[in-house]
Symmetry: C2
Subunit: 197 residues, 2 copies
């Protein structure tokens, strides 16, 4: 499902494709979804409008694929190097660290994601499609079974275990906090303390 | 600073005033801030446009005063019956309970508040102006001093102690959770476990 660098493409096509995606993210983050046309994207990406339609059916298809790609990348980054032979607590804190580190290095993705999630296109997105969702669900189930994590509704667990990541990122971009490794450690500790058995 | 029922007004004026405020909240929650004019509010509130300008300088003044009033009301509700001779934990959980109970009973306020906070009018709002902000700040300071609460940056404390209230309300309005007394108890426990020493 990766939007960047699809393997079946020739190099020249890949370049065009990536230019479309990059340009779209830049324009949307600047102008919002409503202020954008396929023609505008084509012009700024220096491809012909027909080229965009080879890869994407329409605006909604383009915007949705970009969103899915961003979420997929964030999911992969969060799970990188994760080892399920390690303790639940270690895996939990590793996800926090990986996710935040990746997010801070990809501000454009975070802004795009936040904008997209305000739109009705979000109705077509299934959380279950992302590897991270499945991993966290399993981690919670295992943790509850082995009495490392409290037995409470999953949505309550998520609200304290991982949603604060979004809160902290928002504060970071607003300049109210400067997230570094120390803050990530403190925050993941708070999150773990909230949900641990 | 109360927008509803100012004491210096005659009953007939109060009625008009409250009609303006109520109508504004209803229209904004339906149409968003950009789709609204003072003339439209006047018409729907059944007052003359000139009447609105007796109380409010312009749209921004009207919208901002309504926001401040909502926040003031929520702040008062959260602090109702609070007793600072009680333990930090009891006061903490009492704020959770009062705030969520009030919010669930005033959905229109919550929607207005969320919409307002997306606008640039928010730049004129000082968090310090609300009683609740001062109360929580003091509670944290006292808690840290007496080693009931972890000594970490206040913004981290807030992210786990009270921001999850907003998350849970969002999930409630989206139908992903149904907040009742049991959920409030579980959630305030998670929040307390996150920040306690």
């Amino acid at each position: 499902m990766s939007v960047y660098l699809s393997n079946n493409m020739r190099t020249r096509d890949k370049k065009k494709y990536n230019a479309i995606v990059k340009t779209s993210i830049r324009l949307i983050n600047k102008l919002d979804f409503s202020g954008i046309s396929m023609a505008k994207i084509a012009k700024k990406a220096k491809v012909s409008p027909a080229t965009i339609y080879i890869y994407f059916e329409n605006k909604e298809d383009l915007f949705t694929k970009i969103y899915i790609d961003i979420r997929t990348k964030m999911s992969q980054a969060a799970l990188q190097g994760l080892d399920n032979s390690k303790s639940i607590e270690e895996q939990f804190k590793s996800i926090w660290h990986n996710y935040l580190t990746y997010a801070l290095a990809h501000i454009d993705f975070i802004i795009y994601r936040e904008n997209f999630e305000q739109t009705s296109m979000m109705n077509n997105i299934q959380q279950e499609d992302f590897e991270l969702f499945g991993y966290i669900t399993n981690l919670f189930q295992q943790g509850i079974k082995e009495k490392y994590i409290k037995k409470i509704p999953p949505i309550l667990l998520i609200s304290f275990a991982f949603i604060p990541i979004t809160t902290l990122l928002k504060f970071h971009f607003e300049g109210m906090i400067c997230i570094d490794d120390k803050i990530i450690k403190q925050a993941s500790n708070l999150a773990w303390n909230a949900v641990k058995y």
